[in-house]
Point group: C2
Chain length 324, copies 2
DNA sequence: TTGTATGCGTTATCAG
DNA sequence: CTGATAACGCATACAA
């Protein structure tokens, strides 16, 4: 399998140079020759060897995508959107997973570099000057998602702070007794790890509390919030999973409260619609997000400057409908 | 960035050949020279250019993994298990998605071949002699998962037929009135598409019905099965999602029945435990599956013969516990 | 023990 | 319009 341009040239009785020119539709080749080459190429199913091309050009028509994990539905869908968008631009995406581990993130980025990816879409775990210096040293276009780095890197993602404030505002409009915030601690790595999105979501809730003057407490432990909840309370959780976990534990441990707590999460999981007691959520469009990041990347790949892009969010009521 | 072995040689004042021997720990190199090279390599962060290596060797230390979709939690987790297992063997996995489309499957496999993957793990959408000829023409080791092809290709996956029969048997032990089978049609491509796993699951239910003499019907439409259900019926669905869909629609459209139907699905979704009215399911171990496929691949990569491998399944009761 | 030459497949440059 | 030649970075066979 896999014939070479050399072989193709031999078949056509010409040289590699001419084969190349014919295949690339260069003007300086006789029409008859080009057709002969094209016909032979099709006949023998010639595919240029990408590795050879990459060696000489340094380009692989591949974009590396660094994510935490595919088991989170949202990132699985976001990746699909990237893949399809990149596809249309003639790029193949190569996803790698950091599993939230800083060391592993470096490792997988190096693997992508070994394979000479042309650009990087990155949901960073690391942060700080050393990490940024590392990224700069790669000298390829990089777009950062969700967890912002410094201004030196193009960023795209939702305005989590505003989204979170609006989520709290939505809950407020339902006249709850209090509005708590629930976000489990991020593990011992929290200090070294990039928790930008987590932090600004909490800030958004604080913003809303200050502005609307509701009461409510921030909790990091499910057991603790469960023991403190009272009928009519609302809980904004930093992810749908956390909200669902509270719902499930309420039903088990404090069933009298189960129907009396207003729950809201983040991410708009598709599976929410199968739950009998539905929760509110905040949803982002993967499509829009992917397009934003890819357009930034297109700018950088073309040598242009690019600007940060914001991805819109939607407040989804428990019945699944948008809330204006 | 990225120094070459040539440059490294110049720095050490020796030739590329010796650098290569030193880096590879070949015996025929003076100890002192090796240490000088190793020190310089570390100092300047020399990384061999994988593209160059791939061009000359044809090997990229990369394994292609062809899946349908990452949005299905099960395959996302299966992929993670592959990735980690391959990692330990010194391989990087490159996942691509066919989205169940036969043409796209060919396309993404070609993209992997362009990148000179050393082997393929494949969850096939296509089937038939033409497709198998295509796969043979790639002349790299291939392991097939879940949807069996001919004996020419090593297969690993659960015994879906037996698992399905045991699922029906589990339901039978709960003394339902009837045990129906629900599996929506697979779209118009069903004829050309490889539906092996779907087919054998249905066969398993048929086996059980014949053996245990229960009554029950096969349905392909949710609306139809909803209209036919009666209290005490059980439904075995070909996926947890379908079972959950029936549950949700029952609650909405026939609430009097909602608690009186025994539901069971396939795949053991993690999120099932958050549902108040839980369903039974059949679970497979990603870990075990990944190890099976990777050991087959290791055989093939080493030039050995390999045998099909079966992945065990577990019947999970609604309370989340194993059923013996 | 080390250096040199050749080739992997492609592209770009320079002659013709 | 076309052919020959030199890279790209590495590995290997052969020479010293």
């Amino acid at each position: 399998m896999g014939m070479t341009s050399q072989e193709l040239a031999a078949i056509c009785g010409i040289s590699r140079g001419t084969v190349d020119r014919a295949l690339k539709n260069r003007p300086e080749v006789k029409k008859e020759t080009r057709e002969r080459v094209l016909a032979a190429a099709r006949k023998y199913g010639y595919r240029p060897n990408l590795i050879g091309q990459t060696l000489v050009s340094g380009k692989s028509r591949t974009i590396g995508v660094v994510l935490f994990d595919f088991t989170h539905e949202f990132f699985a869908e976001l990746y699909s959107a990237f893949e399809k968008g990149a596809d249309q631009k003639g790029y193949v995406t190569f996803p790698v997973l950091s599993y939230h581990e800083p060391d592993r993130e470096i490792e997988v980025i190096n693997r992508l570099m070994d394979r000479r990816v042309d650009a990087l879409i990155l949901l960073p775990v690391n942060q700080g000057p050393d990490f940024e210096a590392f990224l700069h040293s790669l000298s390829i276009p990089i777009v950062v998602m969700a967890n912002r780095l410094s201004d030196a890197f193009a960023f795209s993602g939702p305005d989590d702070r505003r989204a979170s404030a609006e989520a709290a505002q939505y809950l407020y409009a339902q006249h709850p007794r209090r509005i708590h915030y629930f976000s489990p601690p991020l593990g011992k790595q929290a200090k070294t790890t990039n928790c930008y999105a987590q932090i600004v979501r909490r800030d958004g809730w604080l913003d809303a509390r200050q502005k609307l003057h509701f009461s409510g407490t921030e909790y990091q432990s499910a057991s603790e919030i469960l023991s403190q909840l009272e009928p009519g309370d609302a809980v904004l959780a930093s992810s749908d999973f956390y909200a669902l976990e509270i719902q499930a534990r309420l039903r088990r441990e404090r069933p009298e409260l189960a129907e009396k707590i207003l729950l809201m999460g983040f991410d708009g999981l598709n599976i929410l619609r199968f739950f009998p007691q539905r929760i509110a959520t905040v949803r982002f469009s993967h499509q829009e997000w992917a397009e934003a990041a890819l357009s930034q990347l297109a700018d950088l790949l073309a040598g242009r400057k690019t600007a940060d892009q914001s991805v819109s969010h939607q407040i989804i009521a428990p019945n699944g409908e948008f809330y204006a």
